[in-house]
Amino acid sequence: MIGFEYARASNVADAVSQMAASPAAKFIAGGTNLVDLMKVHVERPTKLIDISKLPLDKVEETGGGLRIGALVRNTDLAYHPLVETRYPMLSSAIMAGASQQLRNMASVGGNLLQRTRCAYFYDLTTACNKREPGAGCAAIDGHNRMNAILGTSDACIAVHPSDMCVALAVLEASVHVTGPRGERVIALTDFHRLPGDTPQRDTNLEADELITAVEVPPQGFSTNYTYLKIRDRLSYAFALVSVAVGLELNGSKIKEARFALGGVAHKPWRNAAAEASLSGQSASEAAFAEAADIVLRDAKGFGHNTFKIDLARRAIVRALSQAARGTPQSQSSKKIA
């Protein structure tokens, strides 16, 4: 690792003012992604501001919803009784990501700020516009099996690696942040960005802002939901394609459908037209296939990852079926219902 200074933040205001004084600093909480990236010199902060001991580690009820402190550990959130009962899709998505050791370390805020695992982003000897704007993208003509099929640009085809965020997109969570210009709230679906011509920016969080909490509204889809993750091995691997679904049913008719895809884009991918196409419909494979077609109409493969278009189509149909039947994907038994 390249040398850096280290200081603990004594409270949120102190964290923000330390950051304002050292623009090349980074906040560190769980460190699972940041330390990894520092070891390979992709991240080179001059200073680490340790926020891990700040009192942002509570899960609190807020008029039917939940306010989740940014420093709640991933396992603590997944196993929280209110999350398991009211937001089982969120529990399931968290448990589908990483390993138990990493989930024990990783914070909720840090999960949102994970950087892509695109191999070219990690490899300093190759071109990457995300790492070095203007350098080019080695993934577009390279080994791009894990890369994006939706919302890509000529500059970047990286995917956001989080599972948790895919569920949070369906739940329409909001991200509470604070900084030198005060507090603000960003919708989770507006939090991550598409690469466009600025792939170096993953999110709309400013460099001097700190995430303090994630809030989920009351609607938890605790009856008809699933998190289906398809990957190269059964556990402890990033998604090729994942699908989080929440349905509200009225008998066999769909009142409301929401679903988001992971592993296919620079952000959790939702498509309003596809969701709208399902409302008022009977829950059927034909309706699900039509919704999948709407999502994938503009999908574009880059060779190694072109299979993801078909895989995503089938995963969407399967996940919507699982949710409609009330048989969510188990994250321990790997049988796909």
Binding site: Y6, K39, L48, S99, M105, S235, Q331, S332
Partner: protein, 163 residues
């Protein structure tokens, strides 16, 4: 660091490692793994990938299993750390250590300290009941010799003894 640069800031930290208080002064980039191996000569914790992908460096911090290669030691000031060296009590192997022997749950043995510390964390969590659940919640520990069936059997034995 090159000689031209300023001497790096070194920071005092205190850890309880396997029941013993340890006061150290370390550079902020020292990982817990390097601290254990290089500063405290506790070489039971293994460095595998050093990137958080293999689980060989798993230890318990305040009773919870974590990856020591991605843990900066300065961030854990005041914490209690348990490594493979701290599991045996009064000269008697921990039930998991005995179970790994009973079930021949390793071949080369390099991943074993991490497997055993991870399994200790798993049992403390109390979430895994079935073999499927053990496999899923142990997926952060890679065994390239492929001793997985025996590792699951060993964990089931130890779990049975402690419940």
């Amino acid at each position: 660091m090159s000689g031209k640069m300023n001497e790096p800031t070194r920071l005092p930290i205190e850890l309880n490692v396997n029941g013993q208080k340890r006061a150290l002064t370390i550079a902020p980039w020292t990982t817990l793994l390097d601290l254990l191996r290089e500063h405290l000569d506790l070489t039971g914790t293994k460095k595998g990938c050093d990137q958080g992908q293999c689980g060989a460096c798993t230890v318990l911090i305040d009773g919870r299993r974590v990856i020591s290669c991605l843990t900066l030691a300065v961030t854990k000031d005041g914490a209690s750390v348990t490594t493979i060296e701290g599991l045996a009590q009064d000269g008697k192997l921990h039930p998991l250590q005995q179970a790994f022997i009973d079930h021949d749950a390793f071949q080369c043995g390099y991943c074993t300290p991490g497997q055993i510390c991870s399994a200790a964390g798993l049992i403390a969590e109390g979430k895994a009941k079935t073999a499927d659940e053990i496999r899923e919640l142990m997926s952060g520990n890679i065994c390239r010799c492929g001793a997985y069936p025996n590792i699951v059997a060993a964990i089931q034995q130890a779990m049975g003894q402690q419940s």
